[in-house]
């Protein structure tokens, strides 16, 4: 039971930190847009290079996308954490289930970002 409690605390913390970080990035990016009036943004399809490296790196739109990316990665970290917990619990069924979910996410990111 204590393991379940610690898992709940871990999940709760991951989600909180992820949401706060991305909200801060998005708020900062939006404020920057409003103050500078710089609405330049690459049109059309995005690639991973732009999302991570970005050009201009501290452009308002790039900070916004970093915020969106942080938000998207947060639930993925939650899955990674739960795989770890289920492994230590020797819960084979749930280790398998959560690993497949992670696999699907990674495949979708790979296909999505190409």
């Amino acid at each position: 039971m204590s393991t379940l409690k610690s898992m709940e605390a871990l999940v709760s913390n991951i989600l909180r930190v992820g949401v706060l970080m991305s909200a801060a990035l998005i708020l900062f990016g939006l404020t920057l847009t409003i103050v500078t009036g710089d609405t330049s943004c690459p049109n059309g399809k995005m690639d991973l290079d732009w999302l991570i490296m970005g050009d201009p790196f501290f452009g308002p739109s790039h900070i916004l996308f970093l915020g969106f990316l942080t938000l998207i990665v947060t639930p993925v970290l939650r899955i990674v954490a739960s795989i770890y917990v289920y492994t230590t619990l020797h819960d084979n069924a749930f280790t398998t289930i959560t690993t497949i979910v992670l696999f699907v996410l990674v495949v979708s990111f790979t296909l999505g970002i190409g």
Partner: protein, 281 residues
């Protein structure tokens, strides 16, 4: 200085839908997308793109307090995520080949579906929810659970029945989620509640918990395909987060039945408008 009105309107719309969404486990996208389309004249692909990212935010934010209050059934959630994530990826790829009109009609139909299942449920008394034992799969995976209902001041133990059907409906909910940029809670909550026999509040909290992973699976496909307008998505995400923060704190003090009645009407009106706009009326 650059602050167009649509940024402020988008924030207000998402504040309201995020709050309601968190209380109903619907992520908020269900109301937000139609409002963005009708009030701000945003194309459906872009509205869905903003929504799906905001939906990740709502889910994660609301889940923080749900998980702490132990209303979330994490085992059930992670099991059903298997179905919803595969569905979400399927849906996100389908959106690229769908027209604006087709998407509006499908969106409208899913709103009407959610309205009808909620209406059927709200006619029953909340107390008529009957405790069911785990079926064979739920028993093997220990999917049942218990939670403390603060509105009734009692501890409630429940099992999960009809697990295979609940799983299949969750897959469909995943497709709808990826396709329309919504959380799909309107499908998952009734599935867990009516089919699986899980108490309403647990179904809401668990659906909300799952939605983040489901939406994350399709959100990057949206961004990659250019369906993410950063200057619309930013106020939408911030508004939804603020709304979800308030909504997750209100749910403890509201009875499930009252919530559903309000929502049935909202869903019905938006669903009909969406279908009519799709067929060009």
């Amino acid at each position: 200085m650059y602050l167009p009105l649509y940024v402020i309107y988008a924030f207000i719309i998402s504040l309201g839908s995020g709050g309601l969404g968190a209380m109903l486990g619907m992520g908020g996208g269900t109301i937000m997308v139609p409002l963005l389309i009708f009030l701000l004249k945003v194309p459906i692909h872009i509205a869905s793109g903003a929504s799906i990212i905001a939906v990740v935010a709502t889910s994660s934010a609301a889940a923080v307090s749900y998980v702490k209050e132990e209303m979330t059934n994490m085992r059930l959630g992670m099991f059903l995520e298997l179905a919803t994530t595969i569905g979400a990826v399927t849906g996100a790829f389908l959106i690229a080949v769908m027209s604006e009109a087709a998407l509006r009609i499908i969106f409208g139909l899913s709103l009407l579906y959610a309205a009808s299942t909620m209406f059927l449920q709200s006619r029953k008394m909340e107390r008529s929810w009957a405790q069911r034992p785990n079926d064979a799969i739920a028993d093997k995976l220990h999917l049942g659970g218990n939670y403390f209902d603060s509105a009734r001041n009692e501890s409630i133990t429940y099992g999960v029945s009809n697990t295979p059907i609940t799983f299949i409906i969750s897959y469909v909910a995943g497709i709808v989620s990826g396709l329309l940029g919504i959380g799909g809670g309107g499908i998952k909550v009734p599935a867990m509640n009516a089919v699986g026999g899980v108490p309403m509040k647990v179904a809401v909290a668990t659906s909300n918990f799952m939605i983040g992973v489901t939406a994350a699976a399709s959100a990057l496909v949206y961004i990659r395909n250019g369906y993410c307008d950063a200057f619309l998505t930013a106020p939408v995400v911030l508004g939804t987060l603020a709304g979800a923060f308030i909504g997750a704190r209100l749910i403890r003090h509201v009875r499930g039945v009252d919530l559903k009645k309000i929502f049935v009407i909202v869903l019905l009106v938006l669903g009909l408008r969406m279908i009519l706009s799709g067929v060009g009326v």
